[in-house]
């Protein structure tokens, strides 16, 4: 039965429809694989019964021809999505016992499309981190290892549990969220595919908030096609999210085509950054050639404020986070710590000091500072102005090209514990953050392996609302890149 876990989401869907196997067989295979993968620490809560329940419904629907788009597919859910009656901890001790009485719109959409849930996936606390070393539930260990080494490797972050689960084949697909690269960087680090759609495509309702003007949900899966299938069933207008885009969801899977004739691919010169390993630049050049081979014409473009994207992000995201995380005060949900004889103020402080980890506290502190009287204009408003310039750079660039190609991350996955300086960790998002600030759709697809045998990703950025071009270019790369063998089970 375990061979079912090797199939892609599309193969599972189609095989189930043809009658090659039942949905319950699929769910059982994955439940078994999940149960045997504790060493990766990818799941923080397993829900095998929910996977089986959805599978039974799918098997019944198959006989009554009322199949739904994701009937027969079990999925992993990042622990940032509120799931009714099931632990939703956002990777934090603060929400260590939180069971929402409601369901996030994205997870509800997937459920309504017939998908089952295998469990909740580990992540950096409140999605703040690039390595899954800030989780209250302990680090996620990537199924990947450097050649000839058993040292633990990070799966990236913050959607590291999702990335590890898909690459270890303990989920055929998983939800992720991306604020400054949290889908794309872990996808690149684990040899899988992930897309962040245009800001507003997926409802943020019921997703634990980090930085509201940037947060966006998206799928992580083995192939471009699988991402298209999942995204179609996650996206859609939601009146409960004031930033939700009121537009129909395109049929991205049906629109897939790797013929890029007549398309221009922009190569931004500012993304050539000193200190980037030669193999990353070489992969980037190779990616341009693959797209040229698919019919696209490369053009050099300029995104002149690229250098300022990271500092802009590290003002805006902590500022929004400090505001969003003010709700964790010990009153309505989550942890409460009281002080003997203390009042309300003491309770707030004790609760927040106990409930938040170091990285979250650091960002709340930065955010509180940049929003405080006297500094608001110098930092926050200034960053919002630079953000406008970054968006304008992209707008101009898309007058000259249809998509932009860059590397996803400046390195392959690093070892757990190897990066200890917070600033050095932030620099890991250098290629991913600009598209987040501009709200553009962006995707990482596997491009090859580095000298240690670890995966490297290529990054495609598209114009607003144009996920289709991003997916199509992703498919063109996927068809040409050497196919990546996912790691053999050692866990």
């Amino acid at each position: 039965m375990s061979d079912l876990t090797n199939l892609t989401l599309a193969e599972l869907r189609d095989g189930f429809r043809k009658g090659d196997f039942s949905a319950v067989e699929v769910a059982e295979s994955f439940n078994e694989a999940v149960a045997g993968a504790d060493a990766l620490n990818a799941y923080v809560e397993k829900t095998p019964e929910l996977a089986i329940e959805a599978a039974k419904a799918a098997d019944e629907a198959r006989s009554s021809v009322s199949l739904k788009p994701l009937s027969g597919i079990p999925l992993g859910m990042k622990d940032l999505f509120a799931t009714e009656g099931v632990l939703t901890s956002a990777g934090s001790k603060m929400l260590g016992n939180f069971k929402p009485p409601y369901e996030s719109t994205v997870s509800a959409n997937l459920k309504a499309a017939g998908a089952g849930m295998l469990g909740k996936l580990n992540m950096d606390e409140f999605a703040m981190g690039s390595s899954n070393e800030t989780c209250a539930h302990g680090n996620v260990i990537s199924p990947w290892r450097r050649e000839g080494s058993n040292a633990g490797i990070t799966p990236g972050g913050s959607s590291g549990g999702s990335a590890a689960a898909v690459s270890a084949r303990i989920a055929p697909g998983a939800t992720g969220t991306d604020t400054g690269g949290s889908i794309r960087q872990p996808a690149a680090f684990t040899g899988i595919t992930g897309i962040k759609p245009t800001y507003g495509r997926c409802s943020r309702w019921g997703i634990v908030a980090f930085a509201s003007s940037l947060d966006q949900a998206g799928p992580m899966a083995r192939t471009v096609r699988d991402c298209a299938i999942m995204l179609e069933n996650m996206a859609g207008f939601d009146p409960k999210d004031s930033t939700s885009i009121d537009a129909p969801v395109p049929q991205w899977e049906a629109g897939l085509s790797s013929d890029l004739k007549g398309k221009r691919v922009g190569v931004p010169k500012e993304y050539r950054i000193d200190g980037t390993p030669a193999e990353i630049d070489a992969l980037w050049d190779q990616g341009v050639e693959w797209l040229r081979d698919a019919g696209a014409e490369p053009v050099e473009i300029s995104l002149q404020h690229t250098k300022y994207a990271l500092p802009t992000y590290y003002i805006l995201a902590p500022a929004e986070a400090s505001s969003n995380l003010a709700r964790y005060d010990g009153v309505r949900y989550g942890l409460r710590e009281t002080v003997e004889g203390g009042g309300l103020h003491d309770m707030y402080k004790a609760t927040r000091s106990e409930g938040f980890g170091d990285e979250v506290k650091r960002r709340i502190m930065i955010g509180t500072y940049v929003l405080s009287a006297g500094f608001y204009d110098a930092y926050f408003t200034k960053a919002q102005r630079v953000r406008a310039l970054i968006k304008q750079d992209f707008r101009k660039a898309f007058e000259r090209c249809d998509m932009i190609l860059t590397p996803t991350a400046p390195s392959a996955a690093f070892g757990l514990g190897e990066k200890t300086d917070p600033l050095a960790m932030y620099l890991n998002d250098v290629f991913a953050v600009p598209a987040s600030l501009a709200g553009l759709p962006a995707m990482s697809v596997p491009g090859g392996l580095d000298k240690d045998g670890l995966p490297l990703g290529l990054h495609l950025i598209g114009n607003e609302m144009d996920e289709q071009t991003v997916l199509n270019a992703g498919l063109a790369i996927e068809e040409r890149a050497p196919s990546i063998q996912l790691p053999e089970k050692w866990w």
Partner: protein, 95 residues
């Protein structure tokens, strides 16, 4: 601009985070490193540029001012650390 240890304590107080002296000492250089680094935004000429708060190019939607949800008190309180008599319980506020 760099922050002093007293400012770190002040920010922590505003953020309702309790810091030990040791925490404050550890955070001081970390925060200053990050703040020094974001200072580079000063190089960018942003005169006449409108601050961008949201990337979604659409009008804010209004909805009818009526209750669409409700009568779920027990659900709302289901995760409260100390609900009392159908309310959120908190430590005594008024002496």
């Amino acid at each position: 601009m760099s922050v002093t240890i007293d400012q770190v304590r002040h920010i922590a107080n505003l953020a309702r985070i309790q810091l030990s002296d040791e925490d404050a000492e550890r955070l001081l250089p970390e925060l200053n490193n990050i703040l020094d680094w974001v200072e580079q935004l000063g190089e960018v000429d942003t005169d006449g540029v409108e601050p961008l708060a949201t990337v979604v190019d659409q009008q804010m939607r209004l909805r009818e001012d009526k209750v669409t949800d409700g009568d779920i008190r027990d659900k709302v309180l289901s995760n409260a650390p100390e609900p009392q008599h159908g309310f959120f319980g908190v430590p005594k506020v008024i002496e």
